[in-house]
Symmetry: C2
Subunit: 146 residues, 2 copies
């Protein structure tokens, strides 16, 4: 992070620091996931589906502050790799539900531990209480802008 070191100027903004942390996380995730042939964004989408299997692309888009079209690009990539499949919602024929496949669940299981270790490394210099406060601050920041 340029500007971290001693300087007479103002500290970097919180907005900038969040971006920098997200950036370094993504670079580690991409490295971790390279053997699996998927990007950090694709992996993140899979973890969302792990929590909420059977979301529609429109729901996923609203959650992600991007357009449905952008989500469709990611979902198509995941579908081509056989990690998700799509199925018409029987209760609402407009919607196509996105569902994890066995292969998708396998991929998530294979990477759960390395990703957990990455997160532990990120907060290794925080106490348990500080980590809780960090989580709380992120949650409040997200709510304030949503």
């Amino acid at each position: 992070m340029v500007g971290t070191k001693a300087s007479t100027k103002a500290p970097p903004s919180l907005l900038y620091m969040i971006k920098q942390v997200e950036l370094v996380v993504r670079s580690h995730l991409d490295e971790l996931l390279k053997p699996a042939g998927i990007t950090a964004l694709q992996y993140t989408s899979l973890t969302v589906l792990e929590r909420h299997d059977g979301l529609s692309a429109a729901q996923l888009a609203r959650d992600s502050f991007v357009t449905a079209q952008s989500v469709a690009d990611v979902v198509r990539a995941l579908e081509n790799r056989g990690l998700v499949r799509r199925e018409r919602n029987p209760r609402n024929r407009r919607e196509l539900l996105i569902l994890l496949t066995e292969s998708g669940r396998d991929l998530l299981a294979r990477h759960a531990e390395p990703v957990r270790e990455l997160e532990e490394r990120m907060i290794r210099d925080l106490t348990a209480h500080q980590a809780d406060q960090f989580r709380l601050a992120l949650s409040k920041a997200w709510h304030a802008l949503s």
Copy 2:
């Protein structure tokens, strides 16, 4: 953030929460910057140059955990818009220094206040102390992964 509400499942990971906050920040920034015709990423690059005018693309790349080639794409866009110019480093003829133009400084000045308001809105539900701790946690997280 899907999964924020009551659920029997585990809470979303910190890695995920960071991404979500960065995402919602970027969407607000993009909205803010749309009239200026630049993206959130391009604006962020400009603010880095505001702090450290005359960086080389290679330095910028190392700071951003992306390749020099990716940085070059952003810099080219900024150069085409007349917001930065490039100039051979007289002390090291390999390097091309990236410098803000008057137009670039104007753009930064025009948007400083709205961006500051966005950041204030983000932390409106945090006390001053909590905001400081938030900043500290982000800094420690960044260092732990760099």
